[in-house]
C-alpha cells in the first residue's frame, strides 16, 4: 500500500482519526448485522461491505449537504457515511416502522430524502439514470450541487451504464460516477465478464475524465474525490472514479464463495483499509492502541443503542399495507 499520507500532505490527526472512526463504525455495524442475520432478526438479502469502507468514507466526506447520493444494494456503508443516523438504519434492517424507509425497504433500500440519499437500488445499473436526472435538475436549478453515483464493476456491463455516461457527458452534468470495482459481479470475476478489465478507460469513449484509485486507501480515495468534485463544481462536467477494492465477505449471506480462493481473500485482507490506516497512524505516532480501543468501545455503544432502538420500534400495522404506493389512495 502506498503510504496514506502521500496523496494529501496536510492531513491533521483529527481528520485521520475521523476517517478511521467512520470506517470502523461501518465495519462493526455490519458485523452486528451479520450476527442479527444469524439470529434471524434481519432477513432477506444482506450484502456486506467489509473491505470496501475506504470508498464510502473517502468519497462522502467530500460532500456538502445539498449534494445527492445514489447507491446500490450494498449501501449500509454509504448510508452511514452520509450521516443517516445508525438507529434509523438499524431499524430499517429489522424492517421496523422507525427505519429510515419505515421498514418497507430493508437492507437494500435505505433512503433519506432530507440527506438527499436516494437509495438503495437493487437493480444493477438501475441507479445510474436516476443520478443523471438528479444532476440535470440540479443544473437546471442553477446550483453547484454534485450527484454521487455508486455502482459496482458488474454495472459496467449493463446498457444503463453506457447510456447514462453518454448522456451525462453529452449534457455536461455534475455527476461523480464512483465504480466500486471489487473484482466480482456476485460470483463472476471481472475477467470472465469484461472484454477489457481496465474499467476507468471506458469513460474515455464518452470523453469523460477518469481516474483509478487504490480503493483500500481512504486517503487516496479522498484526495482523488476532492479533485474530481472540485472540477465538477467548477462546471467541467461528469467524472468517472474507479475505486479498486475488494469485499472480504461473501456476496450475500447465501454465498458459498466457490468462485474464489481463501488465499486470494487472505492476500487482500493484508490490505484492509482500516488496519492499514490504524497501523500507519500508530507507526507515525498519531494514535496509540489505547485510543483505537476507546474509539471502538464508543462505536460499540452506539451500535448497542441502535439495536435497542430498532428492537423497541414497532411494526407497520398491516392495515397500512397499501400506504405510500401512491401519494393518496
Amino acid at each position: 500500500m502506498t503510504e496514506p499520507h502521500a496523496a494529501k500532505p496536510h492531513l491533521t490527526r483529527e481528520h485521520l482519526l475521523g476517517l478511521l472512526r467512520e470506517m470502523i463504525r461501518i465495519r462493526r455495524f455490519e458485523a452486528k448485522c451479520a450476527e442479527l442475520y444469524q439470529a434471524e432478526k434481519i432477513r432477506g438479502f444482506l450484502h456486506l461491505y467489509d473491505g470496501e469502507e475506504a470508498v464510502a468514507v473517502g468519497v462522502e466526506g467530500q460532500l456538502r449537504p445539498g449534494d445527492a447520493v445514489v447507491s446500490t444494494y450494498r449501501e449500509h456503508g454509504h448510508a452511514l457515511a452520509r450521516g443517516i443516523p445508525m438507529t434509523a438504519v438499524m431499524a430499517e434492517m429489522l424492517g421496523r416502522r422507525d427505519g429510515c424507509s419505515r421498514g418497507r425497504g430493508g437492507s437494500m433500500h435505505i433512503f433519506d430524502a432530507q440527506r438527499r440519499f436516494f437509495g438503495g437500488n437493487a437493480i444493477v445499473g438501475g441507479g445510474l439514470p436516476l443520478a443523471v436526472g438528479l444532476a440535470l435538475a440540479g443544473r437546471m436549478g442553477g446550483g453547484d450541487g454534485v450527484t454521487i453515483c455508486f455502482f459496482g464493476d458488474g454495472a459496467v456491463a449493463e446498457g444503463e451504464f453506457h447510456e447514462s455516461l453518454n448522456l451525462a457527458a453529452l449534457w455536461g452534468l455534475p455527476v461523480l460516477f464512483v465504480c466500486e470495482n471489487n473484482l466480482y459481479a456476485m460470483g463472476t470475476a471481472l475477467d470472465r465478464a469484461q472484454a477489457r478489465t481496465d474499467l476507468a478507460v471506458r469513460a474515455a469513449s464518452y470523453g469523460m475524465p477518469a481516474a483509478a484509485v487504490d480503493g483500500m486507501n481512504v486517503v487516496a480515495v479522498e484526495a482523488e474525490t476532492a479533485k474530481a468534485i472540485a472540477a465538477i463544481r467548477a462546471g467541467q462536467g461528469p467524472f468517472f472514479l474507479e475505486c479498486r477494492t475488494y469485499r472480504f465477505r461473501a456476496h450475500s449471506m447465501f454465498d458459498a464463495q466457490l468462485y474464489r480462493t481463501k488465499a486470494e481473500i487472505e492476500e487482500w485482507q493484508k490490505r484492509c483499509p482500516i488496519r492499514s490506516l490504524s497501523r500507519w497512524m500508530e507507526d507515525s505516532g498519531l494514535v496509540h492502541a489505547g485510543e483505537v480501543a476507546a474509539l471502538e468501545a464508543g462505536i460499540d455503544r452506539e451500535i448497542e443503542d441502535a439495536v435497542a432502538f430498532a428492537e423497541a420500534s414497532g411494526w407497520e400495522p398491516v392495515e397500512d399495507l397499501a400506504r405510500d404506493v401512491m401519494a393518496s389512495p
Binding site: A68, V70, G99, C100, S101, R102, G103, R104, G105, H109, F111, D112, A113, F118, G119, G120, N121, I123, G126, L128, P129, L130, A131, V132, G133, L134, A135, L136, A137, G138, M140, G141, T147, G159, E160, E163, S164, N166, L167, L170, R323, D324, V325, M326, A327, S328
Partner: protein, 329 residues
C-alpha cells in the same frame, strides 16, 4: 360560452405541452427527436425554436437513461414530460418505469415521490408491423405505483396533461397513433380535466360497450350501427386505465345487464380480462349474458393492410359481440 375551435388531436397535445411549459418553470419536454425533428408524430414541431434547448431536450436513443433521468429530475423537484416514441420502445425503459418510478415512493417509506409524466404513442393502424404497432398499456395498467391514462378525445388530449403534471405520482399517457390526425371541437374554455373518472360517451340501455383510446371511435361506430337495429348501446370511455373507475362501469352494467369490452391489447391477460373479472365480481347477479371481449388477435401485428385490419378489434366485431350478448345474432 363561445363555440370553440376545431383542432386535431396532435394540435391539442401540442397546445397542452406549450401551456405546461409556459405555466410552470419546472416543466420541460425530453425525448428522442422531440426538438429539431419536431417529434416523431410532429407533436412538438416548432417548440424547440419557441422554448429553446433547455426546455425542449433532444435525447440520444437511450430510453432507459432518459426515462430514468426524468425520474431523477422529478425526484429533485422538476416536472419533466418524457416522450417515448412508441410503446414498443418503452420496453427498453421498462426497468426504470417498473423498478424505479413505480416503487420509489413505497420503498422509501413515502419520502421520495416521482411526479413524472411519460407520453408515448401506442396502437396499430399505420402498417408499421410487429415492432411498432402493439398496445401494451394494459401491461402498464397492472403495475401499482403509476397512473395510466388514455386520452381518446380532443378535450382529454388537451386537458389530461395539465392534471397529470399536477399529480405527485408518475403518470403515463398513451396516445393512439390513429388519433393524431383526428379532429374535433375544443371548447373555448377548455382546461384541466379530471384523471380519475371514466366517461359515458353515448347513453344507452341495452348493452354497455367499454372502450378507451383507439377503440373508442370504433365502439361509437358500432353503437351507431346497433342503433340502426334498434339496439341502444351505452359507450364508456375508460380514460384512466389505472386506477380503473369501477363504479362507472358497474353502474352502466347494472342498467344494461350486458357488457362488451373493446381493447386493442392481446386478449390473454388483457385489460379487457381485468375489466371482465371486475364486472363478474361486482355485477354478476345483474348480468343477462356472459361478458364479451373484442381484442386483438394473438399475433404480432402484421404489415399488410388486410391482415392488420383482421388482427385488430373492428366496429363490426364489436357490434356482433353486442348482438350476441342480446341473443340477436
Amino acid at each position: 360560452m363561445s363555440a370553440g375551435t376545431e383542432i386535431t388531436y396532435r394540435e391539442a397535445v401540442r397546445q397542452a405541452i406549450c401551456d405546461a411549459i409556459a405555466r410552470d418553470g419546472r416543466v420541460f419536454l425530453m425525448g428522442e427527436d422531440v426538438g429539431r425533428y419536431g417529434g416523431c408524430y410532429a407533436v412538438s414541431k416548432g417548440l424547440l425554436d419557441e422554448y429553446g434547448p433547455e426546455r425542449i431536450r433532444d435525447t440520444p436513443l437511450s430510453e432507459s437513461a432518459f426515462v430514468g433521468a426524468g425520474i431523477g429530475a422529478a425526484i429533485a423537484g422538476m416536472r419533466p414530460i418524457v416522450e417515448v416514441m412508441t410503446v414498443n420502445f418503452s420496453l427498453l425503459a421498462l426497468d426504470q418505469i417498473v423498478n424505479n418510478a413505480a416503487t420509489l415512493r413505497h420503498m422509501s417509506g413515502g419520502q421520495v415521490g416521482v411526479p413524472l409524466v411519460i407520453r408515448m404513442a401506442t396502437g396499430a393502424g399505420r402498417q408499421l408491423a410487429a415492432q411498432h404497432s402493439h398496445s401494451f398499456e394494459g401491461w402498464y395498467a397492472g403495475v401499482p405505483g403509476i397512473k395510466v391514462l388514455a386520452p381518446a378525445t380532443i378535450e382529454d388530449a388537451r386537458g389530461m396533461l395539465w392534471t397529470a403534471l399536477e399529480d405527485p405520482d408518475p403518470v403515463i399517457l398513451f396516445e393512439h397513433v390513429m388519433l393524431y390526425n383526428a379532429s374535433g371541437i375544443l371548447p373555448a374554455d377548455a382546461g384541466p380535466v379530471p384523471i380519475d373518472k371514466a366517461a359515458v360517451r353515448r347513453e344507452g340501455g341495452d348493452v354497455t360497450i367499454v372502450a378507451y383510446g383507439g377503440t373508442l371511435a370504433k365502439a361509437l361506430a358500432a353503437a351507431e350501427d346497433l342503433a340502426g337495429d334498434g339496439v341502444s348501446a351505452e359507450v364508456i370511455d375508460l380514460r384512466t386505465l389505472r386506477p380503473l373507475d369501477d363504479s362507472t362501469i358497474l353502474a352502466s352494467v347494472a342498467k344494461t345487464r350486458r357488457a362488451v369490452i373493446a381493447d386493442e391489447g392481446w386478449r390473454t391477460g388483457s385489460l379487457a380480462a381485468e375489466i371482465s373479472a371486475r364486472i363478474m365480481e361486482g355485477a354478476f347477479w345483474n348480468l343477462d349474458a356472459p361478458v364479451a371481449r373484442v381484442c386483438s388477435a394473438e399475433v404480432p401485428i402484421p404489415y399488410p393492410r388486410h391482415l392488420e385490419e383482421a388482427a385488430l378489434p373492428q366496429p363490426a366485431a364489436i357490434a356482433a359481440a353486442a348482438r350476441a350478448a342480446l341473443g340477436r345474432p
